[in-house]
């Protein structure tokens, strides 16, 4: 499987967007090499502002730029771009629907060796708690590219979640990202695995492994968490009768919570969730994923459990 570093893709896309649209300004917080925002800064120094590790100031400044007609991209790590300046995002960006795009890299436990202070596993709960803020978790490099372009084009506040390491590419060339729509990557009627981010390739792998056993998994990439494609979720529940969610995020407040409340309201079916149930630790990403239950094998087991709970 070919891979891409989503944050590097973002840096390149931002550069292209910057040359097309002079309204774009970029703010960063002393992590611009890591987020690849520095590339924009090199090309467009007049529209690039490094504000140091002072994220509260950065978010409110972004709101100020946006109030003057700018399309503002703010980029830092997921832990520093959501929790630290939550109040500034809430009052200054979400409430007035400011045209600010918060693109956070280094989300989840695959941030790895830096340990739990650097592993953002609560960011989707925080950003998803803000009405009107679009939340996107791209599954791979091509989707990152398109999500950034959509964010630049569509007015209003966005949160885009990216990872540190290289991750597998799951999309075919020429695919089209559809904001707010569930994307079926694999057909199947025994169970629907609804995944986001780096758990999408894991879900595809799990489906691959279950097929020889005669279990046909539908795999859905739910890249947009807000606004949520509730109809797409209800349809998957109706057509498969069992749901598994998979996300590299704390169990509460992420994709699993959103799917559960949707099927609870529409069509209750057995549901299993693959997610984090605690803080992790320092370590290599693949070892952390294995230890904390976020591998294809974990998704596979959850699928079997969900199917087993179907009414016979």
């Amino acid at each position: 499987m070919t891979t891409a570093v989503t944050r590097e893709v973002f840096g390149q896309t931002l550069l292209e967007l910057g040359s097309q649209d002079p309204k774009i300004v970029v703010l960063g917080g002393d992590l611009n090499k890591s987020t690849f925002a520095y590339r924009f800064g090199q090309q467009f120094p007049d529209r690039f502002f490094d504000l140091g590790p002072a994220e509260q100031n950065m978010m409110s400044m972004a709101a100020g730029f946006a109030s003057c007609g700018k399309t503002v991209f703010v980029s830092t790590f997921a832990v520093f771009g959501t929790g630290r300046p939550f109040d500034q995002i809430r009052v200054g960006i979400a409430q007035p629907r400011a045209n600010v795009k918060i693109v956070c890299t280094h989300a989840g436990i695959v941030t790895g060796e830096d340990g739990i202070s650097a592993q953002g596993i609560e960011d989707l709960a925080l950003m998803g708690a803000l009405p009107g803020l679009t939340v996107i978790v791209p599954a791979d490099g091509p989707e990152t590219d398109q999500a950034a372009r959509v964010a630049a084009r569509e007015p209003g506040p966005f949160y885009i979640r990216l990872s540190r390491p290289a991750t597998p590419i799951v999309h075919q060339p020429g695919f089209t990202f559809r904001l707010g729509k569930a994307e079926t990557l694999r057909e199947g009627n025994d169970v629907a695995i609804i995944a986001c981010g780096i758990m999408v390739p894991a879900a595809l792998q799990a489906a691959e492994r279950l097929a020889p056993q005669g279990i046909q998994c539908r795999v859905i990439n739910m890249a947009t968490l807000q606004p949520l494609d509730e109809q797409g979720i209800a349809q998957a529940a109706a057509e498969t009768g069992a749901i598994v969610t998979a996300e590299e995020h704390y169990r509460h407040g992420g994709l699993g919570s959103l799917v559960a409340q949707t099927i609870g309201r529409t069509l209750p079916v057995p549901m299993e969730s693959v997610a984090l149930d605690r803080y992790a630790e320092s370590g290599k990403p693949e070892l952390l994923l294995a230890k904390y239950g976020l591998t294809a094998a974990d998704v596979e087991k959850a699928a079997v459990r969900a199917i087993g709970r179907k009414r016979r």
């Binding site: 300004v25 409110s60 400044m61 003057c68």
Partner: protein, 323 residues
């Protein structure tokens, strides 16, 4: 008594204190704050300030809640800006070249609302809908009210926002200036100092901060809650030009705004020493009136002290009708 509308607020006598020459067709109100005040102009500003004090108190009393203390202390700053200093156009609140005013101490919005109404951004009568359902006049400023630049209510955001606005003007090569009004208690927020550092770092000389130094915050005196002194030295150490004035003196405020405008290479902070609750004896220097509405009886006494005849009734009036 029937209240006047916004159009009446923008009357011919209003123009006396405004520049006679309009630099661009887009500008309705233009600055002449740099010129010394004539006695007549000074008298007019004082009458406007009295009208604003009366109306913000009506606003809060009618709502039954709100923040009178910090609204009363900021009145001369707001009147100086909106009637002398800012280039702005109430008929085109989104005019791209307008000077920006950002109220960071968003709880003191009754003062801003009263000034905006007197300046013609919306009808004076709207002031009586403050904090009520379906009103555009929210309990803390929110984007959507004509003339309001920033949603506020959580302290510490405004100086950062204003820095972003000012730098956007630099990116776009627009000549506007940006003003942010902060509370002194607000300066307990660490974000204020993040903003102070970044505005100095980027040499944002089109930015002027004003601190309403009324020495009282929500619970108690600032010296009791969190010592700010040496306050001017802090700003200076952060790379700002510091001007300290009597925040109830129009000549001093206007002089400071002129000096800020002439400052190059660094932002300016005007520390406006004020009296919380200014103009109403029982509210002055009284922490109890930070966030409490007066009773009807207290309102009547306050209006008497402001020289408003009882027969004028309790409706907003254009400032020209003030005694």
């Amino acid at each position: 008594m029937v209240a006047s509308t916004s159009r009446m607020a923008v009357s011919t006598s209003d123009v006396i204190i405004l520049s006679a020459t309009l630099p661009s067709p887009g500008i309705l109100f233009s600055p002449n704050g740099l010129a010394p005040l004539t006695p007549r102009e000074h008298q007019d500003l004082k009458r406007i300030a009295r009208a604003v004090r009366r109306d913000l108190l009506l606003c809060i009393t009618e709502a039954g809640s709100g923040h009178p203390g910090g609204s009363l202390s900021e009145v001369e700053t707001l009147v100086s800006l909106y009637f002398r200093v800012l280039r702005h156009n109430p008929r085109h609140p989104q005019w791209p070249d307008r000077d920006r005013f950002i109220l960071s101490k968003g709880h003191a919005c009754p003062g801003l609302y009263a000034v905006l109404a007197h300046r013609g951004y919306f009808p004076l009568q709207d002031l009586l809908t403050f904090r009520k359902i379906d009103s555009h006049l929210q309990g803390h400023t929110r984007v959507g009210t004509p003339g309001v630049e920033m949603s506020a209510g959580s302290l510490g955001h405004g100086l950062s926002f204003a820095t972003g606005v000012a730098l956007a003007g630099r990116v776009d090569r627009r000549g506007y200036r940006t003003y942010a009004l902060l509370g002194d208690g607000e300066c307990d927020e660490g974000q204020v100092w993040e903003a102070a550092m970044s505005a100095a770092h980027y040499k944002v000389d089109t930015l002027t901060a004003i601190v309403d130094r009324n020495r009282i915050q929500n619970d108690r005196f600032t010296s009791e809650v969190m010592e700010l002194e040496p306050f001017a030295a802090k700003w200076k150490a952060f790379g700002w030009r510091v001007l300290t004035v009597n925040g109830h003196s129009f000549p001093q405020l206007l002089n400071a705004f002129a000096r800020a405008q002439a400052t190059q290479g660094r932002p300016t902070v005007i520390i406006a020493n004020t009296i919380k609750g200014k103009g109403v004896s029982f509210m002055e220097n009284n922490p109890d009136f930070h966030g409490k509405a007066p009773t009807k009886a207290q309102l009547e006494q306050a209006l008497r002290e402001l020289g408003v005849a009882a027969e004028e009734g309790y409706q907003p009036l254009t400032w020209e009708r003030m005694p």
